[in-house]
């Protein structure tokens, strides 16, 4: 189901994060070296000294991770979509200079989603299952690494396949790492199976990324990435009434991150800012803040994220009658009169703000085995839109995400 894409995105983000932690761009430093940096007067020196001669080392151990996530969203008086997603991730080193990674996720999606704005009447019901897998191979060189990946995902009405290539290399002192990447995806949308009228529609995207990661001080690392993507093809949502979108969508994404180690708490602060705009007219800002606090075998990571977006240029506000109620008749008449032009009443293209509160707790059973629990609460309100009241006439929207996981290295 195309409808499920928002829910699936939340889960997909998780699997991306999982991969990030397993092929960390940050320099491996030995335990003894880390302990020595706490010695008085030595940290300043290490700013001038590389922690390690190779930017990124091939993994020495295999990793297997099993996660189970569940996502549920709702608006007042109505539970909308539920997603259950078991995940598997495996990474294996080969011959010291190669790493193979593979992951699989199976989502089952069920529930209902509005055909207009946040209207419960006439919502489209759905129940679907998505299988997605990816495979990635990385070759490590002194101070550099190159990766190639393929990914495939399949639902009964939506098939997506993607390839990617990326490379990263570091300066001689290892204080700076450059990254470039290219990705391409090809999607097919066809819902005739469930009685729909979308037949064999296609969508293609090309994405280019460049970034730099800089060690600023022994306690500070900053990262900046710029991504440009070009997409062409079918962007409509077949489960919304008279939803017609442009057949191309080009985006700019700028991402800045700053990680700071707080000596006195032995903790880290991860902060990020993301800017997004696209040719639909959507412009968004995301601010993220996480506090990573180790305490013996435990690690606690509370997080806060604020998101705000402007509406797409072809998003249409609800029409209200004299009593202030949703006037479905007027909305339909407008849609029909605009038929053939770009228009959408999809809540996800409206202007709104959202806040996510999250807490992740990890516990190391042994040095090689970690279990973790992550809980996220997402609240979306039009009134939280940055610098204005956002789109009128929409109900609040909430979502919860809970994930448990087990990771083992051997």
């Amino acid at each position: 189901m195309v409808m499920a894409s928002a829910a699936v995105a939340a889960v997909a983000t998780e699997s991306v994060l999982m991969k990030k932690t397993n092929t960390s761009h940050f320099l491996p430093a030995s335990g003894v070296l880390l302990a020595s940096l706490v010695l008085p007067g030595l940290a300043a020196l290490v700013a001038a000294t590389p922690l390690n001669a190779s930017a990124e080392n091939a993994p020495e151990k295999s990793t297997i991770a099993i996660k189970y996530g569940t996502y549920k969203d709702s608006q007042p008086g109505w539970d909308r979509v539920q997603v259950d997603a078991p995940q598997l991730y495996v990474q294996a080193p080969i011959a010291g200079v190669w790493a193979l990674e593979g992951s699989w996720v199976g989502d089952s999606v069920s529930g209902a989603s509005p055909r207009w704005h946040t209207q419960t009447t006439g919502a489209s019901r759905m129940s679907d299952y998505r299988n997605a897998g990816d495979f990635r191979v990385t070759r490590f060189f002194p101070r550099a690494a190159v990766s190639a990946s393929v990914a495939y995902s399949n639902e009964h009405d939506y098939t997506s396949s993607a390839i990617g290539l990326d490379a990263r290399w570091s300066t001689e002192d290892n204080n700076r790492t450059w990254t470039v990447g290219y990705g391409s995806s090809s999607d097919r949308i066809d819902n005739t199976y469930s009685g729909g009228d979308v037949v064999n529609q296609r969508k293609r995207t090309h994405e280019f990324m460049a970034g730099v990661t800089q060690v600023l001080t022994p306690s500070d690392i900053a990262q900046f990435n710029l991504t440009r993507s070009f997409g062409e093809g079918y962007y409509n949502d077949p489960y919304k009434t008279l939803d017609t979108r442009p057949n191309s969508r080009n985006t700019w994404i700028a991402l800045a991150r700053w990680n700071h180690h707080v000596e006195s708490f032995d903790a880290s602060v991860h902060s990020s800012y993301r800017y997004y705009n696209d040719t639909f007219g959507v412009r968004s800002h995301t601010l993220g803040l996480e506090w990573v606090q180790p305490a013996g075998r435990w690690t606690f990571t509370p997080g806060l994220r604020y998101y705000s977006q402007s509406a797409a240029s072809f998003y249409l506000d609800p029409i209200m009658d004299a009593q202030g109620n949703y006037d479905a008749q007027a909305v339909l008449m407008r849609a029909v009169s605009l038929n053939g032009q770009n228009q959408s009443t999809d809540q996800r293209l409206a202007a709104f703000g959202a806040v996510t509160l999250s807490m992740k707790v990890a516990y190391a059973l042994t040095p090689a085995t970690t279990i973790d629990l992550k809980v996220e609460a997402y609240k979306q309100r039009t009134s939280w839109h940055l610098g204005g009241s956002g789109s009128p006439g929409l109900d609040p929207f909430d979502a919860q995400f809970v994930q448990i996981g087990l990771t083992h290295r051997f």
Binding site: P28, S30, V38, L39, L42, L45, A48
Partner: protein, 311 residues
Amino acid sequence: MSRWRTLRFDFSAMASPCSVQMDGQDERLMRRAAQAMIAEVQRIEQKFSRYRESSVVSRINRAAGQQWVEVDAETLGLLDFAQALWTQSDGLFDVTSGVLRRAWDFKKAVLPDQGQLQALLPLVGWQHLERKGRQVRLTRTGMELDFGGFGKEYAADRAAAVLHNHQISHALVNLGGDLHALGGRGLPESASAPWHIEVQHPRPDPAQPQAPLALLPLTRGGLATSGDYERFFIQDGQRYCHILDPRTGWPVSHWQSVSVLAANAVTAGALATIAMLKGPVATDWLAAQNVDYLMVQHDGHRVHHTQQLPP
């Protein structure tokens, strides 16, 4: 600014010959930096040497089994590091094991009395050191704290930090074989080339006693060597060296020498010593620490691992 020159200052500290070599253009700055650096090494020696009555280590040792001693932040930092080394070496690197020297006399070259060694073993154990805020206490009378296991390396790193703060960017600090390089050579004809360090041969050829084991290039970071040739005696064909296993009180014998290159000297020195103590399993353990090393096994066989050195 004037022409490039190399200056070398020799001095003696921590019972070892020491030197610093610098490439630069501002001779007055280089001399000032060297002076400040030597003062820093002497400060550390006075503060932490167990041979100095007034050192903080001597104060803690005199109070063993009795009262708490209040110490400053630098000492607390060294204690934290000692704790980390003890934990990460599974108890092999223990700054309280110096007391075993009472049983071992390398000058007289006689094996210790087993009874005396057994009596000393209960005085060895980091777990018998208590801490409470800024206060520290050895709980057993007769216990001894000794930062000798990484003191010289710590001084080499601090010395390099002093040079760094004086805007020196091409220097090599050598404190009795524990080295810290602060950037490569500076002279225009050899700009950025590494310093070349001679590593002493653990079993020198009598025909060429000065021939080194290896010539290692070092541009940045620390290099330290631990070996069974520094203090030892041989009895009935068996070599007894000064590196003692804190669990048994007896010398290690698997490695003749271990040299480690790491981001700083204190890490290199600690890893080299722990490798000597670990015996046959040291190779895997060092590899996991992401450092380069050169080790000579008891039979003369060499093991090395290189990330930054040409093979």
